[in-house]
Symmetry: none
Subunit: 188 residues, 2 copies
DNA sequence: GAAAACTTATGACTAGGTACTAAGAGTAGT
DNA sequence: ACTACTCTTAGTACCTAGTCATAAGTTTTC
């Protein structure tokens, strides 16, 4: 025996993890054992065959592509709404919303929740954000539930410009505030 | 012939592009022709076999993983970067970024591009946004290319707080500006 | 009606396996 | 020393999703 079985299997695992595109034959050559031994090892370690490995890598990529359009619809779920007055939405912070390094939610998701709530609360076909003044009060972490509350502060009778104040909370603790100055297409 | 050859081949192309995981047999079933016809079609269109297709998808993913580890969490593509000084990114506005009604880009995407550029330009493991003051100068439409330029304005020696100014342009026309006050974990 | 284009069938071969059986080598216990 | 056990190797039949080449049948076009 060139190496103990255990040692070989550990190396095998890491080798395949590092490069899933390697065939049993290449592995046999690398570890100086027969192809059958490699296959027994894979069986014991329940490592799938080359083609299956490649397939899952490819499928993951496909999933990622779908997942990486996270800013698509209205961010968060609107649970209460009085047009031109107030609105509330909830947003659950998941894996895809946080920095991998520190599990803190990326700012633009909190902004997106608040901004799209500000857009939604306005009783108009075509509301757009003109300006915003925002503050991140404390960082939001993975799995926290953010509740955003929007209040329409005043509507300029002439221009239709509207100020919307949004405050976001996690467990009643303020995490984000934003003042949004919104355009309207028509003055309702 | 259920469909002309040309028509079938065009559909074949797009079908495979959309779902590279489909076998010749499934395609034959779908187009109501024999497997051999599908194979001739693939030959003429030089579309590789299932396994090769899956492999290239998987390989791309591997490439992506290596290339985009640090910049992966950035919205838009960074094309220039001097840490703690300046950075530029481009962001192409696609279908998924606009309001369906009027084809205008949703504000939070412009914010996300600017904000993540502000995060990236800071030479620190853990940069977070504290405050931001933003203005949407004119609305950005479908298929426009937004170029965001970030400049680090000043770094507080004591707190490490950093002001980053971001201006975004479409064809040299200013569409967005933002002042981002950023935290750092350590004072470099 | 023949030529050209298209479609289908058939057979031999491939990579990279699975599943199973069988046999030999090395080591440990008694 | 003999047996029991683990580990390794070999070989066979079978699988999928193809390739390549040849041939034959079917339409379409001139």
């Amino acid at each position: 025996m060139r190496r103990s079985k255990k040692e070989r299997q550990q190396l095998l695992s890491s080798t395949i993890q590092e490069n899933p595109f390697i065939t049993d034959e290449e592995l046999a050559e690398k570890f100086q054992v027969s192809v059958q031994t490699i296959r027994l090892d894979r069986l014991e370690l329940s490592i799938p065959e080359l083609r299956e490995r490649i397939k899952t890598v490819a499928e993951k990529r496909f999933d990622d592509e779908v997942r990486s359009l996270p800013l698509e619809e209205v961010i968060g779920e609107i649970i209460d709404m009085e047009l031109d007055q107030s609105a509330i939405s909830i947003f659950d912070v998941k894996e895809e919303h946080v920095f991998k390094r520190n599990q803190i939610a990326r700012g633009h998701h909190l902004f997106a929740q608040a901004n799209s709530l500000a857009v939604a609360v306005i009783n108009d076909e075509l509301a757009l954000t003109a300006k915003a003044n925002i503050q991140f009060k404390r960082s939001v972490r993975l799995n926290e539930r953010v509740i955003a509350k929007a209040r329409v502060m005043n509507i300029d009778d002439v221009t239709g410009r509207t100020l919307v104040q949004v405050s976001s909370f996690v467990n009643n603790e303020l995490v984000f505030t934003g003042d949004f100055q919104m355009y309207r297409s028509k003055n309702n």
